[in-house]
């Protein structure tokens, strides 16, 4: 190329200028600081102000944290050790650690049972959250609720086994009849499960729980952060499928189903959760037969699940509405029936759109589990407000306890949020 132009242009470079290193101020930390912290005078001023604000915050808190006392038996002892210096009294956390985690009534020699259930929870949840893991692990996920129930509540092993058999029986009946009609399969399955549970309930001998291998622990003895985790995990995992069903029901062309779903969603969304919890703790008993004792934990689970299912249903409805009509038509035109079209085409896309909204509800739900402290269940907040702060030893240690509670919730919720962001990236296949 240079040959042809050499005569016609005024200047042709024959040698390359050697590459030079960029000036010091254009690379490294100096460049970063220039661009991000001191780009303009106003920017520089803001940086200085912000640095001062950070200093104002850290100046008292850092010594408070670093100077903290970790071993003491009461607040008075803490103050003695500190001798007037600033410092936190973290001793309350170490001394009341088991109570914060398990509540004050759960037998201490049985702490290993919920701890084991907690560890197994991660194994059970992993294949659901990370779908690259082998699908066979899902069998354990299916068994986990029964194992966890047995570990936490103890008692006779017949109860979780019966529950499992009922579920399997119901599923078998559902599979048998669903090819004929969905309604026959669905209601047949439920009826079969109820029948198995009823008959099985009669078969379990009366005193089976007293001399069981694992000592039974009644629901009212559950407490601490364990209770929050149990409520959060159970209610989130129940409310997502129920929410999907409600969202689809709300779109249904069958008027009865549609009306039922709309009324349910609108009613539940219109009532504060606290009200529902009071209903669960006090009034729900009126709706059951007089001598039946439906467990308080179960009642609370039902209420929180209904509450968040209504919200999740609306979030998913938004996702469904965001899908172009062409997706439904393409699925129909290929001859897919309604359940196939929903499961293979519509829901995977609608749920993907709904992830941020669902996570929002899930995080909110998890934090809302502390509301059960209002109906005198001793969850983490209930423990702090009640037995710990009311005791003579630790009266007045607000910052440390509530800070710790916030930190626990923050870790879990931040984890959920990070997971959802990973999931969104993982599922991004539309290349828009």
């Amino acid at each position: 190329m240079s040959d042809t132009h050499a005569q016609t242009v005024a200047f042709v470079r024959e040698t390359e200028i050697p590459e030079a290193a960029p000036p010091y101020a254009a690379t490294g930390p100096v460049k970063w600081m220039r661009e991000n912290l001191f780009a303009t005078p106003a920017n520089a001023l803001l940086t200085v102000v912000a640095a001062y604000a950070i200093y104002l915050i850290l100046a008292p808190t850092l010594p408070w944290i670093l100077n903290g006392v970790w071993t003491a038996n009461s607040l008075a002892e803490c103050r003695e050790i500190l001798q007037g210096a600033t410092g936190a009294c973290f001793a309350v956390l170490t001394e009341r650690w088991p109570q914060l985690l398990f509540g004050f009534k759960y037998p201490s020699e049985l702490y290993w049972r919920p701890s084991l259930a907690f560890v197994l929870l991660f194994v059970a949840v992993a294949p659901v959250l990370f779908f690259d893991l082998p699908r066979k692990l899902l069998i354990f996920t299916g068994l986990f609720p029964f194992i966890a129930y047995y570990l936490i509540w103890g008692g006779t092993i017949f109860v979780p086994i019966l529950a499992l058999v009922g579920c399997l029986g119901g599923y078998a009946v559902y599979q048998r009849f669903v090819t004929g009609s969905f309604a026959a399969g669905f209601f047949g399955g439920i009826a079969a499960a109820l029948l198995i549970w009823y008959i099985g309930g009669l078969l379990i001998p009366d005193g089976a729980s007293e001399n069981a291998m694992l000592t039974p622990v009644p629901s009212r003895d559950l407490g601490g952060f364990m209770l929050n985790m149990m409520l959060g995990v159970t209610c989130v995992s129940l409310s997502i499928p129920i929410g999907i069903a409600l969202a689809l029901g709300r779109q249904s062309s069958m008027p009865l189903i549609k009306v039922v779903c709309v009324v349910f969603i609108e009613f539940i969304r219109g009532v504060p959760l606290i009200t529902l919890l009071f209903v669960a703790s006090v009034m729900l008993a009126y709706f059951f037969p007089p001598d039946s004792t439906v467990d308080l934990f179960l009642r609370v689970v039902i209420m929180i699940t209904m509450f968040s299912a209504a919200y999740i249903a609306e979030v998913i409805r938004g996702g469904l509405a965001a899908l172009p009509k062409g997706q439904y038509e393409a699925a129909d035109s290929l001859g897919l029936d309604y359940p196939q079209a929903m499961r293979l085409i519509i829901l995977p896309q609608a749920l993907k759109i709904s992830i941020p909204g669902i996570v929002n509800v899930a995080v909110g739900l998890f934090k809302d589990t502390v509301l059960v402290s209002v109906i005198s269940m001793f969850d983490l907040l209930g423990m702090i407000r009640g037995p710990i702060l009311a005791s003579t030893e630790w009266n007045g240690v607000y910052w440390e306890l509530l800070g710790f509670a916030s930190l626990l919730f923050f870790v879990v919720c931040y984890g959920i949020s990070q997971y959802s962001q990973w999931l969104e990236r993982r599922l991004a296949t539309d290349h828009r």
């Binding site: 172009p324 035109s333 001859g335 309604y338 995977p348 539309d430």
Partner: protein, 256 residues
Amino acid sequence: MAEHATQMQVSDEIAITISKMNKWYGTFHVLRDIDLTVNRGERIVICGPSGSGKSTLIRCINALEEHQQGSIEVDGTLLSSDLKNIDKIRSEVGMCFQHFNLFPHLTILENCTLAPIWVRKTPKKEAEETAMHFLEKVKIPDQAMKYPGQLSGGQQQRVAIARSLCMRPRIMLFDEPTSALDPEMIKEVLDTMIELAEEGMTMLCVTHEMGFARQVANRVIFMDAGQIVEQNEPEAFFNNPQSPRTQLFLSQILGH
């Protein structure tokens, strides 16, 4: 070009019979007394001004739209509100849409194998072989592992055609398949459709591609205001239109 069309055989066997079919959107009378018989192997092009009901007509054939009066019989099956009947007809009738409607969350290959696996219960391996066969036919086998969003419009529409073909349909419906494409992509899609016609596929196309109609169709139908105004062989239709409405329409679209 005309001899092209004569090479393609039309059999006496009837594929679709529509008689006295009427449809309303609310109180708006969209389709009025449609009578149409389609023989196996026919290539019919339906044209007409927008809002004339051409898309609605072919969408009634696979029950994407419900008709309120008259009857539609596809491959000997009468279209009724029975869902089983509808699903049966849909699996025999392929459809391509203006906006392709590929499933963006599935790869090209998965788009093509989904319906055979779930509706026809074909084993996955066999379904994948069929899919690759048809993807080769539309000349994009190398994109099989990509997602629809990574393909150009013309490629997406060809995938959509391949996806329909994987169900081995006996009839193909095309709802303005090239209207959303750039001019240079229109050709690659039309080429695919011409090839399909040459193999004897029964086709109903709603399209404004008059060159395609001349080359491939054995019958052109002109619709206006929800009724069939005129139908004829392409030569006669374009050179000697009978109704004044058709003459006006043709002068407008062929005029420039």
